[in-house]
Symmetry: C2
Subunit: 417 residues, 2 copies
Amino acid sequence: MLKEKIVRLAKKAKEASRELANLSAEKKNNALLDMADALIRNKRFLLEANQKDLRLAESRRLSSAIIDRLTLSEKRIRGMSDSLAEVAKLKDPLGEVISLRKRPNGLIIKKIRVPIGVIGIIYESRPNVTSDCIGLCLKSGNSVILRGGSEAINSNLAIFEILKSSAKRYGIPENSFNLIDSTDRRAVGYILELEGLIDLIIPRGGEGLIREVSRKSRIPVIKHYKGVCHIFVDRRADLEMAKRICYNAKVQRPGVCNAMETLLVHKDIAKRFLPEMAEEFGKAGVELRGCPKTRGILKGIKAAEEDDWYTEYLDLILSVKVVSNLKEAIEHITKYGSQHSDSIITEDKKAGMEFLKKIDSACVYLNASTRFTDGSEFGMGAEIGISTDKIHARGPMALEELTTYKYIIFGKGQIRM
Amino acid sequence: MLKEKIVRLAKKAKEASRELANLSAEKKNNALLDMADALIRNKRFLLEANQKDLRLAESRRLSSAIIDRLTLSEKRIRGMSDSLAEVAKLKDPLGEVISLRKRPNGLIIKKIRVPIGVIGIIYESRPNVTSDCIGLCLKSGNSVILRGGSEAINSNLAIFEILKSSAKRYGIPENSFNLIDSTDRRAVGYILELEGLIDLIIPRGGEGLIREVSRKSRIPVIKHYKGVCHIFVDRRADLEMAKRICYNAKVQRPGVCNAMETLLVHKDIAKRFLPEMAEEFGKAGVELRGCPKTRGILKGIKAAEEDDWYTEYLDLILSVKVVSNLKEAIEHITKYGSQHSDSIITEDKKAGMEFLKKIDSACVYLNASTRFTDGSEFGMGAEIGISTDKIHARGPMALEELTTYKYIIFGKGQIRM
């Protein structure tokens, strides 16, 4: 029953995607602006639905971190609304001529940007993902099928209903966005089987969810995986700058994927840098876990185990390692990193360029905080996530990354010889 | 044993890919030119190895189509050699700045083209795939792991050995290209498990192989699937042009994925067009299978069954359907097509533009043969295949499609507020 229901939904989403692909930018933008407004108009309804989820979460004794992510407030609703309004203002990515070739035989080959089709998004707890994904997919001409976590079902349904009735008034095809309203865990498996109906799956959530989705799916998946981000403070770093950046990357918002998880320090400046840095971190309540050399300098801190180097703490915990040179820093990041975001702090241009070249991560920084890996910070507007994959999209994914291309070829009767 | 061997090989390929990513274009091109020459220098060795495969194929009674694809000749070796030399001449795709943004906070964000890493190619029978893939992957800075069909193992090994010893002399890292020398069928399964070591899988071969690979793989797969290509002859077509193009698309080389498999004809011109077209096809020995209306015009031809519309014949067989209008043609292609290549023949600009817009295939043509869907014909040099997927690459895949990007970000101490 549930399976058939999901198949029917996906078929309708596919049909809607064909209509959506050729909708004018104006029509989509008008709808998006009213959808932004509709969230504010219906905030009371939304907060009430959210209260149901929160009461259930408390009775199920979910962690305070989950409850925090789940909670809606007037401010958070305002944020969701602003985000939709911003998406409306972004340039429409569709129809862009990516390249144009004229061949010796007279064929004109245009490579143009088109929507992907139907996107499936499987996510956990944060209700704003619902409105963000609906906005980005609508603007990029894709239908979307959303499957949120059971803990947020009432909030997600409320957001969905509000946006749907607004979009309908503006002539957006009925099944452009769809929410699976069942909390049955098998729904995810059914979605992942719909090769041919769903064109792309984006899982957003914990490591377990992403591993499960990518193992089961027959549909292409773009993984938004963990961020084990590093900062390497080189021997020729401006140490004041290094302190400021490292503090920002660890402390400003530790629970996100672009926060620093491992600090690498060149041996030549470790004795000077580490005690000062540790003092700053101490004030912010950061727990340090060090390699033997680090512990020789910072007495009394915990030892980092092998597992620590692979760990995304998402918390005020930091692993620290002293390295002999740039090469060792690069090797460490290559072995333990997650190819998300890594930074070098140095005034040595040659070392900086070598780091930028050899670190194979989505975002590699020179003298800046890893915290900038973000769609808005990159000037891409909102984001649907940050890809740690290498296929199709890398780093922040926004409108352009939700498109593909096709070739349209103009002939005058050419045949192949 | 075999599994461990493949894991070791993949690890070495990964290491080699890091070195390869930063090799100069000159070094790669010099190697490619010598590799092209080495195939000619060693043609006797190559032909002898091929003879072994051919003798085995005959004793195993493989089909004449397979034996034809398997056979090497002086001319085919020359073709493989020319192809490597051409790849050497193509522009190096690496390091290209795809976009450059300067943010209000002073951060400079460069999006640059980089290799994907390690590519796994699983293919059948044609030995030239071995040298083509080695050439394209080397030039685009990727390591490659090749797994060819058991029927071509001696030819593939010979090509591999020749290219390897040439590349070695030119300083190409040892494990840049790798061939699985076991014909054990389990090898494919082992390759598809190497998530984290292999970054992309490209299967090339029959439908069965591609389905199996995409079902089993934990690694992203770009499918090079079947081409059920259509030509729609509109009511306002130039019928002489239509005849020329349809003949070319069906007859010139029927065994390839961009050949026409279904002809759609507007009812208004069917009575005039079909008999003349059928006469041409008759001379070429094309078997026609028609819808009821077609059979009303072309007496005595076979009826097309529902399955025919889905079928890639790869042979001198063509299904033919009379449609009432453009809309019905588009609906037929949307339902039965494989999103590979489709063409409309018309002098009606509006109908042409609607077809180009609404047909969601990798390559959509106006007044030209579908046979042009090909890397060389598109001016991309050689090709590693033709993607029927929508993620990462669509249509002909060549050097650019074998790359991804990363962001390198230049700061002056910026932190996130």
